[in-house]
């Protein structure tokens, strides 16, 4: 179990609650608790949001400022070094992922200002200023975030099925739905009926859907909006990354 897992179990209500708690713990600087919270926060940010932010940078004009990894890591380091900006997020009323992207652009704007003073990159500020209005980059960000959320739900469901001793059902689902294997050879291999295969797939799909709903609610999506948000995620994943 990771430090992040521990923290999530301590604060199971919502992702927002968990994040706020970590941020406040870091800001309070109360010794070990603060360090644990910082580690959990860092791991969570990297695990869920780093890839979507890389994708954004890759498809944005701010790509000219440097490697996506360098820009995003620099952003995270600055944010975690001083949690004052993170502490303002709850008042913003925005989804965390949207707020995080705005934060990156703000961070990049700061870089361009610094560079501009040396007169070497005087036009770069305008690049950053316009970055927020780049639909392709936004699309790449949403796609990568959707992939992360779907991956999280998939992994959670796999864990739940394993804990429940339903590995076989999960494997049938996995091989049929994800790898496109027909039921007939699977039924033969596992010595089960075709009906069993179909039931196993259906159960696993329900498990993934349930896990996704939980992840979305943790992300701060209102329960009544979870189904709509889930559909947006699916469409984004199906649509693929922008070319």
């Amino acid at each position: 179990m990771t430090a992040a897992d521990t923290q999530i179990e301590d604060f199971p209500s919502t992702h927002r609650t968990w994040l706020v708690t970590q941020i406040e713990s870091v800001a309070a600087d109360t010794g070990i608790r603060s360090q644990e919270a910082l580690a959990a926060l860092r791991e969570h940010l990297f695990q869920r949001y780093a890839e979507p932010l890389y994708a954004y940078v890759r498809h944005s004009s701010i790509r000219r400022l440097g490697e996506p990894e360098d820009l995003v890591h620099g952003y995270f380091v600055r944010m975690l070094a001083d949690c004052s900006s993170l502490r303002r997020w709850p008042q913003s009323g925005r989804h965390f992922r949207k707020w995080l992207l705005s934060g990156l652009l703000f961070h990049v704007r700061g870089i361009t200002r610094d560079l501009g003073r040396s007169r070497e990159f005087s036009s770069l500020e305008s690049i950053a200023l316009h970055a927020a209005a780049e639909p392709t980059a936004e699309q790449a960000y949403e796609h990568a975030w959707s992939r992360q959320i779907l991956q999280t739900a998939y992994a959670t469901a796999a864990g739940e099925m394993e804990r429940a001793g339903r590995n076989q059902q999960w494997m049938i689902f996995r091989r049929h739905v994800l790898d496109g294997e027909p039921y007939a050879p699977l039924a033969k291999e596992y010595s089960v009926s075709l009906q069993h295969c179909a039931d196993a797939t259906r159960d696993a799909v329900q498990q993934v859907r349930h896990a996704l709903r939980i992840v979305l609610i943790e992300e701060g999506v209102a329960e009544r909006d979870a189904a709509t948000e889930a559909d947006e995620i699916f469409r984004s994943v199906i649509g693929g990354p922008p070319r």
Binding site: S146, R147, L150, Q151, Y154, A155, A158, R163, A164, G165, R174, H176, V177, L178, D179, G180, P182, Y183, A184, L194, Q195, A198, D199, R202, V205, V208, R209, L212, A227, A230, D231, I233, F234, R235, V237, I238, G240
Partner: protein
């Protein structure tokens, strides 16, 4: 961690997206289905209590204690199985299943055809379903457009229309020796096979024998399935207009506008009667038929509509002539 590849994520998202279409409730849910579901639910809850106690005792945990996840999962699983079995078996034992026929009205953007969901208590194969429809003057429904598919699907919303995840039969089938899994699909009516609404990864000829069309997974998508009596229900569609009045005959039969004395879904006026003088249909024209003619003389035929053999609205001399002219065994 088992990481999803792009193609896998795409497949999973497609599957989940199509499965999350909101399911609209039918306002015409039969009270018998509802009653059997309630009875089933109560029975399942009672059994669930027993199972919970049994599991708790078997695991040695206190009945007042909080069950661990494994126990809970087992209980939930068994509960779902029991609930499904009891509710569905309740539906099976109900005596009157299915819904009244409904018209997809032209004024609602429809085609004027009539549709009916029919439940077969012991299951029915696709071939038998097709024959059943034809015996009633209709055919297995052929949803050839998105709008028609939605209309037809809404007839399947009662829980008992579904055998687990297998929905009613539709009028699509695959010609023998076609290229699998996509080749040779056609409608029983001969309409063009153009618009389709397959479920994700379907058709797949999964068992190697799948060439019959049905709804699957409680939503509007289609699946190919074996021609075996695993499905419980079917959708009949009526579109015939034998008298060319631009009104589907079946609706006119239902309203009493057209007679269908042998209840085969074909109006009497469109049937070639092989033995028109056989009023009471004993395969012989004899004194009983003559007596019937005389008993309803001057009327429209009353309870013997076949007495008006020429469909002129009154039993009179010409009808008597038909009986006398056809005297003897029917051809």
């Amino acid at each position: 961690m088992d990481r999803l590849a792009d193609a896998q994520a795409h497949r999973l998202a497609s599957l989940l997206l199509t499965k999350t279409q909101p399911r609209r409730r039918s306002r015409r849910l039969g009270w018998i289905v509802g009653a059997s579901a309630v009875v089933g639910l109560l029975a399942a809850i009672a059994i669930y209590s027993e199972v919970s106690l049994h599991v708790s005792m078997a695991s040695g945990s206190s009945s007042a204690g909080r069950p661990n996840n494994q126990e809970k999962d087992m209980r939930d699983f068994e509960f779902k199985q029991l609930l499904s079995a009891v509710v569905l078996s309740g539906a099976v034992t109900a005596t009157a299943m299915g819904e009244p026929p409904v018209e997809w009205k032209v004024s609602d953007g429809g085609n004027g055809h009539w549709y009916k969901w029919v439940k077969q208590l012991s299951g029915i194969s696709w071939s038998s379903a097709r024959s059943l429809c034809e015996a009633q003057g209709g055919y297995l429904a052929t949803p050839t457009s998105l709008a028609e598919n939605e209309f037809v699907f809404n007839l399947t919303l009662p829980t008992s229309a579904w055998a687990n995840y297998l929905g009613p039969w539709l009028g699509g089938f695959q010609a023998p020796n076609s290229i699998e899994p996509n080749g040779g699909w056609q409608w029983v009516t001969g309409e063009p096979w153009s618009w389709t609404n397959w479920d994700e990864l379907q058709p797949d000829n999964g068992s190697g024998l799948e060439g019959s069309l049905h709804y699957i997974h409680f939503f509007q998508r289609w699946n190919d399935w074996q021609n075996v009596p695993q499905n419980w229900s079917l959708i009949i569609e009526w579109s015939a207009d034998c008298n060319n009045d631009n009104i589907v005959d079946y609706g006119q039969i239902l309203s009493g506008q057209l007679l269908d004395t042998n209840t085969n879904g074909i109006p009497d006026i469109c049937e070639v009667d092989p033995c028109p003088g056989d009023i009471i249909q004993t395969n012989t024209v004899d004194g009983v038929d003559l007596a019937v003619i005389l008993s309803v003389w001057g009327t429209s035929g009353s309870e013997y509509p076949r007495a008006d053999t020429n469909h002129d609205g009154i039993v009179s001399g010409p009808d008597l002539a038909v009986v006398l002219g056809a005297w003897g065994p029917c051809p």
